[in-house]
Symmetry: D2
Subunit: 335 residues, 4 copies
């Protein structure tokens, strides 16, 4: 193998740079040259790339974002796009392409595989952690801590004013960030997509929980963590509705894109480093059509289709303690 290419695609996630660095250093370890495509699949189509030297990845392990930039790319999803990309890869004599991104990026990888016979490998890079086959995705750990830090801050005000706050976190179709952020911030309530697949949250029951909490503990702070997209109109509308029903002031906070950035925490750097090196090692032994993941402390190879065919489940025990053990209403009969 003489030349490996790497690109980042889809939403950016902290740790993508650590993964790029790992790919580059591992390739150099084996004497393989690395090409970095810029702007995701766009770079592949438009031959926007650069040779990545060791010095290019020096001191990037700690940086958020991605030095290769990212982008969405409609043109690539067509047959013509796939063929163009394949031609470009062939022209550059690329032996393997490593794609860092989410499930949309992996669908792109499969699409490319119809037109190009080189090795294609994926690394799970998304804060949402909604990729099956790996225990965690690059960026997930940092996103939880970022959300947590913000909720800890809101708790200060909530406590000072004994107020209700609704905090919207990221996770379009998956409640990983929401559940983790709720447990570790000691949130009084959490609304996750997995709990409301066919219906909306029940306003009366939500309002009732708030009111019971205030009966039990007196006026007090109350934090509800809400995954985005669960409630039409978001937490702003939900806060209004709850205010109307309870007469209690409810404040919405939308954490938003803040959750995507920042210097990656240690676990994201470690995960990205391991995945990046392993991907190069796997490419050298001829592996293709797989995402590299980590499951139960072992590096694993997951066929691309399996990464999205099955939804990854939330940790049932974590859900149990948040919704049962730590529920303040169920906890009200203090001995």
């Amino acid at each position: 193998m003489k030349r490996i290419a790497v690109l980042t695609s889809g939403g950016d996630a902290p740790g993508m740079n650590a993964a790029i660095r790992a790919v580059v250093l591992a390739s150099h370890y084996f004497g393989v040259q690395v090409i970095g495509y810029r702007h995701g699949f766009n770079g592949l189509l438009e031959q926007e790339y650069q040779i990545l030297q060791s010095s290019d990845v020096n001191n990037i392990i700690q940086r958020g974002g991605t030095i290769l930039k990212s982008a969405r790319c409609q043109a690539f999803t067509t047959d013509e796009g796939g063929r163009q990309a394949a031609d470009n890869l062939t022209a550059l004599e690329i032996d393997a392409l490593i794609i860092i991104g989410g499930d949309g990026s992996f669908r792109g990888a499969v699409h490319l595989g119809r037109f190009w016979s080189g090795k294609i490998l994926g690394l799970p890079g998304t804060i949402d952690n909604d990729i099956n086959g790996t225990d965690a995705t690059i960026g997930y750990y940092t996103a939880i801590d970022t959300a947590l830090e913000s909720i800890d801050r809101v708790r200060d005000t909530a406590d000072a004013f004994e107020r209700i706050f609704l905090i919207e976190v990221m996770g379009r179709h998956a409640g990983f960030i929401g559940l983790s952020a709720a447990v570790c911030s000691g949130a009084e309530q959490v609304l996750l997509p997995e709990l409301f697949t066919d219906n909306l949250p029940d306003l009366d029951s939500l309002a009732g929980h708030i009111q019971t909490a205030q009966k039990i503990r007196g006026k007090c702070s109350y934090i509800m963590v809400v995954s985005e997209n669960i409630w039409p109109g978001g937490v702003m509308d939900l806060a209004d509705q709850l205010h109307q029903r309870t007469g209690i002031d409810c404040r919405p906070v939308i954490l938003g894109h803040v959750q995507r950035g920042g210097s990656p925490v240690s676990l994201d750097r470690i995960l990205a480093s391991k995945l990046g090196v392993y991907a190069v090692e796997a490419a050298r032994t001829g592996k293709t059509g797989i995402m590299i993941g980590e499951h139960n402390q072992q590096m694993v190879e997951v066929p691309f289709q399996d990464t999205w065919n099955q939804a990854k489940a939330l940790d049932p025990y974590l859900l149990h303690i948040q919704q049962e053990t730590f529920d303040l209403v169920k906890n009200s009969n203090n001995p």
Copy 2:
């Protein structure tokens, strides 16, 4: 002097606990007892208070929020409320009351002075920094850093995607947080209340600035810091409007209540400590009707009315460098 009371009122701000601690330790230094009223002026009306021992303020200097809680209180603003509060203070033989809060709290202080002859002193506690007579208010420094940390994170994504972000920061009537956050995050644009007292920002000119930026630098990240309440509908609506005019994707981020909380940064702890001690010293020498502030590195005593009669001006040089020197359009003719 035998007994001092202290309360926190209005929006909470990081450093309020450091100020409470300073009041307590300074009072004890002089052998004076301290009463802490809870929930702002409500506690004064409802005699909700506690004696504050040194151990009560041990290890609180680093905590956000306020251990005395805060609240708004309509009842207090009536004559009846003022009289009731005065009676309660007299009944407890309080010699001096120290109020930590914003200009609303200081108006309350003046109101109380009509009914009570004890000494009344104020400490500026608000993240907005919109109190005349003191260079900074308790909580302001932390709020800038909190906003900055969030914007630094958004910049990572903005850069990775070369995207436009509109970031709404606190500061209802004053652009202190907005201007500081813009300069120190290297924001490409800033909208402050001081710049739009009689009018709305000009959409065409905002859109034009974005488009010129992209002409000069190619597609690139662009961050606009926007003080709350400047644009009807907030940054969500403004982002829509700019998108319609430019065709470029603009993402809104509302930092919101996150800016109010968190462990105070060093300068807020230092300011709060100095103001708290000085307030006790001033009360002992018979001072009343004043806010304690710091101006040009000197402790100052500011009559309550002066704290709101005159608007505090933004740093003109800081405004100059943000709007002139650092403006990327004016900077486009790189030599």
Copy 3:
């Protein structure tokens, strides 16, 4: 079961408070009262304890240290101490005792079991992660991030001056913090106790690595992460030795006790919450003589002896990438 007791023992670790909170809330969920002993086993001997109400654990999930205090206790390790502790537990009608600490604390648990027939359970609480049977210990994740944050800062100076820094991290007998901190800070060299069980690091080879690095890359920054206790005289002496051998300025930094404190990161709060709840559930079903851990995403019950009989191994793949793939000398032949 009517009454559970909890204590923290040995070195404190971020997340101990989250564990105490989980034990209290889970107990209350089952209608069980909780007694908190103070100062570790000392409190058991001297009957220093308090009933823990829900309000006592409100808002402590985010705090470092331990609200129950910790301490070493020689007296407890004698037969007399064990008997006294047993008598005290019996007198208070304690059904189960939950001990949060490291392997020394678990030896104490076994000792107590010789004299007391109540249920005894342990939760792994130590930043060192040197407890067999659980993938991570409470506090470990925070310690890595704390070390990392400091090393990231040192890297700034190292880069500005192109200097050599030796950074001593905690981990008396185990290199978990050292290895993780090295990988995620992109350290050029790491010295771990597991690599030098019978001998000292070879000065010539360390010096040679530094010199080769500077030959390959020119003058540049170079960070060596060193676990405490590996080198007699610590990094101060090691830095001197290397300076003498290479003539290159080497600066020592000892991170020290800073690594023990701070608000726990999300993963430590989550781990502590799960372990704490599970311990109460296990006690209710009659389990005793075990540490609760988490292994491969499952809650596990580990007999106390197994927690120290076998040394927990470092992640071999992580060691591989740090010492092979990321070694800058082995990486020097950039294609």
Copy 4:
């Protein structure tokens, strides 16, 4: 004016990059080209430089260290060195040189002025804040917060174990970091160079303070902040001495180089931005031989000699509250 040069010299400080960026953007605003010398005065001697484009300073405002690198340079201090530097500046047709550094760098500036007739301006960049004529130096604010964050962490352990910690902070000849860190961490004791100009701290009195504290409050945490270089052998030796005298366990922590790095806090970025722009404006109007500072919210021009001729005094009121009001022994008679 056609060409400005900039360099960073002496110890690095967070915010140096923000200052470089400000110099570059302000120069471009006026159509002036910027040359960046690397490795401080070494780059001047060895003509190691680069033209700085706007894109070179894009996204560096948040980075610690200095993109121009820093270094000590003996050769420059000779007459020959000064002449060589002058020749090189003349050869490159540099109109003005802006030096970012501490008082050693400003002495270098004066030295250069003997041989070169171009304009020479300085920006105060050092964490120590020991430069006369400016209220703060670039990097000082970040260093306090970094020290504070570490001491807050140590306090967690100190509290859990009710232990004595001695924490050594930077500030070779000036106690600015020490005093600020002590006040805002609520330290029980502080040792600053300004307090011990002719003598060593009195061991008996230090030991007595610790013992009295434990008499008054019972066993409790106790933090002593110590500026480096006050005690021969540093805090390690001082901790030993105090242990011998009191029999109480005293733990040393040396914060060290960690204090030099990290992303600059907002105030350092703001200060650096203002100083950098003002320096370019001043150079354009023909100013030379001065350091740009900020005093009482005004930009000031300080002749180089004045920056070191007079020692800058600690804030007397801050010293007063730390040593008098907040002294726990003087505070012991709680009413």
